[in-house]
Amino acid sequence: MMFMPGANPAMLRDAGLYGADSLMFDLEDAVSIAEKDTARALVHFALKTFDYGDTETIVRINDLNTVGKLDIDAVVRAGVDVVRLPKTETAQDVIDADEVITEVEKACGREVGSTGIFAAIESAEGVLNALSIAKASPRVRGIALGAEDYVTNLKTQRAYGDNMQLYFAREMILHAARTAGVAAVDTVYSDVDNMDGFREEVAHIKTLGFDGKSVINPRQIPVVNEVYAPTEKEIQKAKEIVWAAREAEEKGLGVISVRGKMVDKPVIMRAERTIMLAKASGLIGEEDL
């Protein structure tokens, strides 16, 4: 998920060129208070004009108590895939946004429910309420950790390289996402010149189980794709498992074995995820299966 300011016409135009899985146009923190109105207009026209292909479009709106409702009106009408809520603290925050989105969908003739919600969790309260937030609306596609505000709320600061600092928040968000069946996306890595540190953090959050990483610079995208892309060996093994599972299903068999090891449902699910990641990384196509 690549973050980019909604106030910059050149970035909005070029956003689709970098190979991100999803693009997040920011109307919140990346836009000064004086330019909230102009950025709202730019993002509306960008969504209506540019063809971002299969890349998911997300807009981070402002708080509903400020100009968030105007943001929702502008982007839902323009066909955005997902609205990202900032600083989500309770399930009610999601329910309130859901109501505004529904109102706009009805007003512009868009299918009710077709706009997703991505909830950013950026405070201690949000972390403790992660599960109820993730389950607050069928629109919720995912939840994400916003670490900069979160550490400020905890009265500390980011300590890059320290994997324990965000451990609790990351685990809470992961467990909530998995329980609710939505995506879990990790926070940004702001030190864009430290590519080694970035790579380490991506490897860490992949091991924890996150579905992806938020990025703030196009240079970070290939690193995420590389770390998340399965190796040739992993893909081959996953293919064998998926093929064996298909064959077993056709023959009505239960437990099967691949390369002398027992394969049951969790193993098959992991293999299917490997195949999905390989496809997303462009390493295999449908014909390979």
């Binding site: 016409p9 050149a10 102009t38 207009a41 026209f45 004009t49």
Partner: protein, 121 residues
């Protein structure tokens, strides 16, 4: 913001009426791919557009046309527009013009998308 049908418009749709300009307003920047639009209410019925564009030779007429159409759709007259363009696409010219007009009318950011989207349908 009152509205009424204006049948003589080529698109045949209604326009926002009474978009009364109250003050000078600016929207946009001088960065590449952007356009800075300054709106000055001057009274009367005239629409005067002055453009300084880095792509004048190829796109100057088109940019003036997009600004003029947008003002017409917004029902704005009695205006002097000063535009400094650095290679903005049509969608950016529209976004900046609309934002500047809404600012000049004292309704910054409260866009009527139903109406605006109908022009581009």
């Amino acid at each position: 913001m009152g509205r009424e049908e204006v049948p003589f418009l080529p698109t045949g749709i209604g326009v926002i009426r009474n978009m009364e300009l109250k003050q000078q307003a600016v929207a946009g920047t001088a960065e590449s791919s952007d356009i800075m639009i300054t709106i000055d209410p001057v009274g009367g019925d005239a629409v005067d557009i002055s453009l300084d564009s880095s792509v004048e030779k190829a796109f100057g007429d088109r940019i003036r046309e997009v600004i003029a159409e947008t003002l017409k759709n917004l029902g704005v007259t009695g205006v002097k527009v000063t535009a400094v363009d650095k290679g903005a696409l049509d969608c950016t010219v529209q976004a900046r013009t609309i934002a500047a007009v809404y600012r000049a009318a004292g309704n910054a950011g409260e866009f009527d998308w139903k109406e605006i989207d109908a022009w581009n349908a």
